[in-house]
Symmetry: D2
Subunit: 161 residues, 4 copies
């Protein structure tokens, strides 16, 4: 596994690798081929390559909306995870208590807007943090193809404490 992720405040490289491993091992993420590419306090990115299984309209050979929604949810969730991890670090929550708190992280709700057909070979889902609180994180997501076309956007809220 290679990633551009830099070590972020509160993360050791070991912990970062654990997080990357965790995200890559999720079964449905593997089905989609979602790979973490960037995990920082400001931005997270996952890549996803087009393949037959992900097609929604085989006449036009475009990505299924559900694959796009999944990529956005996963990327927003990773952003919420990193942000929560940093908050726990900032708040001096003991290291041994962090995994339990992180395990409660989950999507509350998500909106996806489909702007253009999912045409392309290599896609990137990215997320930025809008808010991190004691209980709720809010993230904004985007989904681009290799030509930089903005295919979809999303907003997600995540329970994080």
């Amino acid at each position: 596994m290679t990633t551009d992720a830099v070590q972020t405040e509160g993360f050791s490289q070991t912990e970062l690798n654990l997080a990357l491993n965790f995200l890559e091992q999720i079964p449905f993420n593997k089905v989609l081929g979602l790979k973490p590419k960037l995990l920082t306090a400001e931005r997270c990115e996952f890549s996803m390559a087009m393949k037959d299984d992900l097609v929604g309209n085989w006449l036009q050979g475009i990505l299924h909306g559900g694959a796009i929604s999944t990529a956005l949810d996963v990327t927003g969730g990773a952003m919420a995870l990193i942000a929560t991890w940093q908050r726990l670090h900032r708040d001096d929550v003991p290291k041994e208590e962090r995994p339990k708190k992180l395990s409660k992280l989950g999507t509350i709700d998500m909106r996806v807007d489909f702007l253009h057909p999912g045409k392309g070979k290599e896609f990137v889902a990215s997320a930025t943090l809008l808010r991190i609180g004691n209980k709720v994180a809010v993230t904004r997501m985007e989904f681009h193809n290799e030509d930089g076309e903005l295919i979809a956007v999303g907003t997600g809220t995540y329970l994080c404490g």
Copy 2:
């Protein structure tokens, strides 16, 4: 393929079978195991069985949020498809022009609310119609497990003309 779908106004049984076939043949729907169970003018239902590939949290063995989002989007889209078909019939749009119009159908945006963890063996995604216009259809979706627990709800808008 077996289905409880009854013949709806404007649909011949042949057409209904075509629609069912179309929905089942979508590659990503097959990956998820989404099967149309009911396609009527008032309500659409798809079933989805739990399997390893769909897991999001393997410690807890629960469904990935992306699989739930996909099931809701597909079911809402089928509801919009049926409703649009009926509108074309009601408006006396010639049969040969209908496929072209239906081919433009696509999700504009969707919201998903995750209410409870996706635990279960057999899930049903259902959609009801909130609005069908000349250009936009709006549907409300629900996602239950075999115990009737409401796991997620959604709302979708679809371009339909």
Copy 3:
């Protein structure tokens, strides 16, 4: 103030009147003329009468979308308030601690779908509870006119603990 609200589990009539008073005294609610009509554990309703100030399109004399959004948010918030109150009661949280917890209640996010133009003289916004947890409540809202036409629907998530 008259209301059809019945006394709900955990609420004394005095407390219910306090809640009603609180909701009616919110300045922006008064501008809109939002009046609580029903506050129960299953369903909340507010009425709102058409008036010049609330018009969004004066050629057609229809309600401003913002007035509809506000009515849905207020009604969903009241539903979350009642549900949280009941949860605090069920969990035997001391009465003196409840106001502090309730004061933290706020909207996390909301979606509104506008189905038909806001024509009418008397409107009712209603909310039902989809989920009440320790931290987040989820509600579904509807907005009807006096003819029973469904003008808009919404979904809201509320921080409640």
Copy 4:
């Protein structure tokens, strides 16, 4: 009425003034004190000053969520209006046919995320265009106070043809 709006492609100054006048004369916009500050093809802005009528929580003196939702919807709608106007111009739709098409413009649905309490004296709601099609426009909105704090974000879809 003063505005920073520059003349945009397809707009004469007279037309721009008509649009500004139209937006300012909407009754509910006047109740809120919403004033257009910028109307360009890339971005629209409205200002709104705090006043007693707009308060949602009088203990804390913060803006009602409904006032924020309204400001975001109005600003996104103005962005969709400008973008549609430009599309009609680009597509050489005759000037006399444009008002009829613009009159059909309306919000399909909107999501609002409340990030921080609405504290402040002067607020700015801004919108940028995510997509303009023949039938649907999608906009992203933000709501800031005079300190530049991001209080809320939103996404809206608008019927525009």
